[in-house]
C-alpha cells in the first residue's frame, strides 16, 4: 500500500510522517540518519517507548519499497494514536501535563547525553490524559555547551499560555488557535501588570526576553550573529529545572474550587441519571466502539459509564473549562483511556496552518464508532441559533451510531436558555426532532428519562 504524506510534517528536514491504512510511517532522511542511529544504538528511544513516554516504533526499512518510500534511510512504523489533539484544544491541566512531560524528557535525555532539537507542543499527544512524545527525530545527541535552541518555542507554546491562564485567568486557546506558533513573549509582556512582574520566571523568560527580542529586531541584528553563544550544561539543566518547578506550581484561580465542589456532589445520583446510564450502556455494549465521542461530556460521567460498558477509548468535548478540569482529574486518577478536550461546537477547530492542512479541522480528524450527545443539542439549537435540522446533521454526521438526548422546550435547561431572550424557535420540539432524526437514521430505541427529556439511540450504518 502506498504511503500518503501527512500534511503536518514538513518543518524538520530530518524526516516525514506518512499514513498507510491503519499504520503510521516515519521516514528518516539522509541528513538525520547519523543522529537517529546514535539515539537508536544508545537504546534511548527503546527505553522511552517501553516506559510509554514515546510512541512505540518498529523498524520496517526492509518494507520501504512496498510503501513507495525507497529514498528513505530508515522507515519506522508506529501505532496510530486514537485522536490527535492540538494545544488550543487542551484544558489547563492537559497543557501543564504536556509542558512538564517535555521538560522531564529534556532532563532525562540530558543524563544520557541527548537533547531535543525543538520544543513544539504539537509533538506532544495524549493517551488517555497521559502525555506521549511523538517525534522520534527530535531526539539527537547533546553537544556540550550548545544553547537551548527550543527555548523561545518552549516559552511560546508552553510557558506563556500557562502563565496567561494562571496569572491573568485568561484562557489562551482562542489566541493560540489564531497563532499556531503560540504566544510571543513580546505580546504577553504587554498584558502583564507591574505587580505581577516581580517573579523570576516572568521577569526573565517573558519581560527580559521580550525586551531583548524587541531591541534586536529594531537593530535588525539577527540571531546569526549570536550563533556562537554557549550555554553550559549546568545552566541548561538549571533553566529546565527552574521552569519545571514554576510550571508544577501553576494553577488557575477560577478552577481552584471546582474539584472540591464536585467531590461533594458525587454521591448524588438521581433515577433520571441512572436511566440515562442504562440506556447509553445498552448502546455501547451493543456497538463495542474502539473510539467513542462524548460531545458535551461535562465532567465525564457518561464517558466513564461508556468505558465501563465496553468502549475502548473515549474522547470527550466540552465548552466549560472547569468541568474539563474535573474530567481530567477523574481520567488521571483512574488511569482511564479518556481524553477530555475543549470544543466550541458552533466554531470547532478549522483545518489550518500551511496549505490549510498542517493542523486538521475537527470534522473528520478521527472516525469514532459511536457517540453520545447528552444535554447538548439545546446549547447549539437555542444557545447559538443553529436550526434544528442543521444541528441534527452535525451530530449524526460524526458517528454512525449514537445516543442523543433531546431536552423538550418545557425542560428547565431549555427554559434557562430562553429566559434571557425571545423564543424564536417554533421548530424546537421533540416530535419534530424525532422526525428529523428518523429521516437521517433508524431510531433503534427511545426512552423518556424525565417527562421533558427523551433519549434516542440512532443507527445510520
Amino acid at each position: 500500500m502506498a504511503a500518503v504524506l501527512e500534511a503536518g510534517s514538513f518543518r524538520d528536514p530530518a524526516g516525514r510522517v506518512f499514513s498507510a491504512g491503519e499504520q503510521v510511517l516515519r521516514t528518516v532522511t539522509k541528513v538525520a540518519a547519523e543522529q537517529f542511529a546514535a539515539a537508536s544504538e544508545a537504546g534511548v528511544l527503546r527505553r522511552l517507548a517501553d516506559a510509554g513516554r514515546l510512541v512505540d516504533f518498529a523498524d520496517v526499512t526492509d518494507q520501504a519499497a512496498s510503501y513507495g518510500l525507497n529514498d528513505a534511510e530508515v522507515v519506522l512504523s508506529h501505532p496510530r494514536i486514537p485522536f490527535i489533539s492540538y494545544p488550543y484544544e487542551w484544558s489547563f491541566s492537559l497543557h501543564k501535563a504536556a509542558a512538564l512531560a517535555h521538560l522531564d524528557l529534556q532532563l532525562d535525555l540530558l543524563k544520557d547525553g541527548f537533547a531535543l532539537s525543538d520544543a513544539t507542543a504539537y509533538n506532544v499527544q495524549f493517551e488517555g490524559v497521559k502525555p506521549v512524545f511523538i517525534d522520534h527525530l527530535s531526539i539527537r545527541p547533546y553537544q556540550d555547551g550548545e544553547i537551548w535552541a527550543g527555548h523561545r518555542q518552549f516559552c511560546m507554546q508552553f510557558l506563556n499560555p500557562l502563565l496567561m491562564w494562571s496569572m491573568l485567568d485568561l484562557q489562551p486557546s482562542h489566541w493560540f488557535r489564531g497563532s499556531l506558533e503560540g504566544i510571543a513573549p513580546e505580546d504577553l509582556a504587554k498584558l502583564i501588570p507591574m505587580r505581577k512582574r516581580l517573579n523570576f520566571t516572568v521577569l526573565t523568560h517573558v519581560i527580559a526576553q521580550a525586551a531583548m527580542q524587541r531591541r534586536s529586531v529594531n537593530k535588525s541584528q539577527g540571531s546569526a550573529s549570536y550563533r556562537t553563544a554557549r550555554l553550559p550544561r549546568s545552566g541548561f539543566e538549571g533553566m529546565l529545572d527552574g521552569l519545571r518547578r514554576t510550571i508544577a506550581r501553576l494553577e488557575v484561580p477560577s478552577h481552584r474550587t471546582v474539584w472540591g465542589d464536585y467531590a461533594q456532589n458525587t454521591s448524588y445520583s438521581s433515577p433520571e441519571m441512572e436511566a440515562k446510564h442504562r440506556f447509553c450502556a445498552e448502546m455501547v455494549s451493543a456497538v463495542k466502539p474502539d473510539l467513542l465521542y462524548d460531545i458535551g461530556c461535562n465532567s465525564g460521567d457518561y464517558s466513564l459509564g461508556a468505558l465501563e460498558a465496553g468502549a475502548r477509548s473515549v474522547v470527550g468535548f466540552d465548552f466549560d473549562q472547569a468541568a474539563l478540569e474535573v474530567a481530567y482529574r477523574r481520567a488521571k486518577e483512574g488511569n482511564l483511556p479518556f481524553l477530555p478536550l475543549w470544543l466550541d461546537a458552533a466554531n470547532p477547530s478549522p483545518a489550518q496552518g500551511w496549505g490549510q492542512a498542517e493542523r486538521k479541522g475537527f470534522a473528520g480528524r478521527a472516525k469514532p464508532d459511536a457517540l453520545l450527545a447528552l444535554a447538548f443539542i439545546h446549547h447549539i439549537a437555542i444557545g447559538r441559533n443553529v436550526p434544528l435540522d442543521m444541528a441534527t446533521d452535525w451530530i449524526v454526521g460524526h458517528a454512525p451510531v449514537g445516543v442523543i438526548e433531546f431536552p423538550h422546550k418545557a425542560d428547565p435547561m431549555v427554559q434557562t436558555l430562553l429566559s434571557q431572550r425571545e423564543d424564536i424557535f417554533p421548530d424546537y420540539d421533540h416530535q419534530h426532532f424525532a422526525k428529523l432524526l428518523g429521516e437521517r437514521a433508524r431510531i433503534v430505541k427511545q426512552v423518556d428519562v424525565l417527562p421533558t427529556r427523551t433519549l434516542y439511540w440512532y443507527d445510520r450504518s
Binding site: 553537544q143 537551548w148 535552541a149 526573565t204 526576553q209 550573529s225 553563544a229 553550559p232 538549571g238 527552574g242
Partner: protein
C-alpha cells in the same frame, strides 16, 4: 547600567564564549540567546545550591521525594 549596556555586554559575553554549533532547523532567536547567556549561570548556580541543600536535608532528616504535582 542602562538597558543598552546590558544588551551589548551580554551580547559580547555570548560572542566571546566558545563556539558550539546550534541545531540547524529551528531559529532560536536573538532575545532567547541573550537571555540564556545571561541567566544560564544563575540558573545553574540555583540548581547546584538546591541540590546541595537537598542532600544535606536528606542526610539529616532522611530522604523525602520532591516537588511534583
Amino acid at each position: 547600567m542602562n538597558g543598552k549596556t546590558v544588551v551589548s555586554l551580554t551580547g559580547t559575553l555570548a560572542m566571546l564564549a566558545v563556539a558550539a554549533p546550534a541545531h540547524a532547523y529551528l531559529d532560536p532567536s536573538t532575545g532567547s540567546i541573550i537571555l540564556q547567556a545571561t541567566i544560564g549561570a544563575i540558573a545553574g548556580a540555583t540548581l547546584f545550591a538546591r541540590t546541595f541543600l537537598y542532600r544535606i536535608k536528606s542526610a539529616l532528616f532522611g530522604s523525602k521525594s520532591s516537588n511534583d504535582k
